[in-house]
Subunit: 144 residues, 2 copies
Amino acid sequence: VGCDLEPWPTFLRAYSAALRAIEADVRRRGAVPLSWYDVLLEINASDGRRLRMQDVAARVVLSRTRVSRLVDEMVAAGLVRKDHDDGDRRAVWAAITDAGREALRQTAPVYLDGIERHFLAYLDEPERAYVRAALAKIVDAHDG
Amino acid sequence: VGCDLEPWPTFLRAYSAALRAIEADVRRRGAVPLSWYDVLLEINASDGRRLRMQDVAARVVLSRTRVSRLVDEMVAAGLVRKDHDDGDRRAVWAAITDAGREALRQTAPVYLDGIERHFLAYLDEPERAYVRAALAKIVDAHDG
DNA sequence: TAAGATTGAGAAGTCAATCTTT
DNA sequence: AAAGATTGACTTCTCAATCTTA
């Protein structure tokens, strides 16, 4: 038929296939899990290399509850530090430690390689740009 | 920069945003969960409206273990029946029941509406076709 | 009361081990 | 021994309820 109803199932399958392959690679190569990597990346990219808990949750695709537990594990592993805000004592800042930045340095190439091999490899340059722009409209609509 | 490295984060965010919105809609409207819907859909589309357990798992994006538990819950809910194969007594067929087909009829419009409103609405017809074709290459590469 | 964050209970999903039949 | 399926123990993730400060 001419009418294309089916990008959705393809989208779900592509997500599952690529993510599983990348995570399997990462586990095999002994790097920190994707969720930890994402948290470190977002904190490291923020002003003062720190981020409030709820802002971590907003940037990574996880609930606040999950982030609360994840950050506690990362504190126990020494990759992140929790500081109370001076002005508003309800707020907690998650700050990356030196060990965290080192973990980020070691993990980044493993992920970039996985993304390249299991996702980008199947898209040429125009496709990458086109797909990114199309999906960005969906993202923007949902958090706008 | 001219080089577009970033369809991947956009892809992850689009997946999360669209799926969460669709599932919230479906829950609000009292339909069966997406995992049940997918299982019913695949069984119903198969020869004889039945499918072996491992083939269910291959078609939906879940492990065999998960499918085993899911189908047991659906049997308890009366939507699916499990039959042993006559020839090979190791194999189990999951067959859709009349109640299952009725659930499928009631759930389908809710899902199609969610997919339309939270995903397709942001893509015009050429974009739908282009994105589907691009992502299909990823899917094919991973299960080929 | 509201906002920021955490906790308890449990759903959803997986791997490795197991049971049964081939 | 290998294939089909299930089970046990576990990780991941979420919702609703809670605690604390504003």
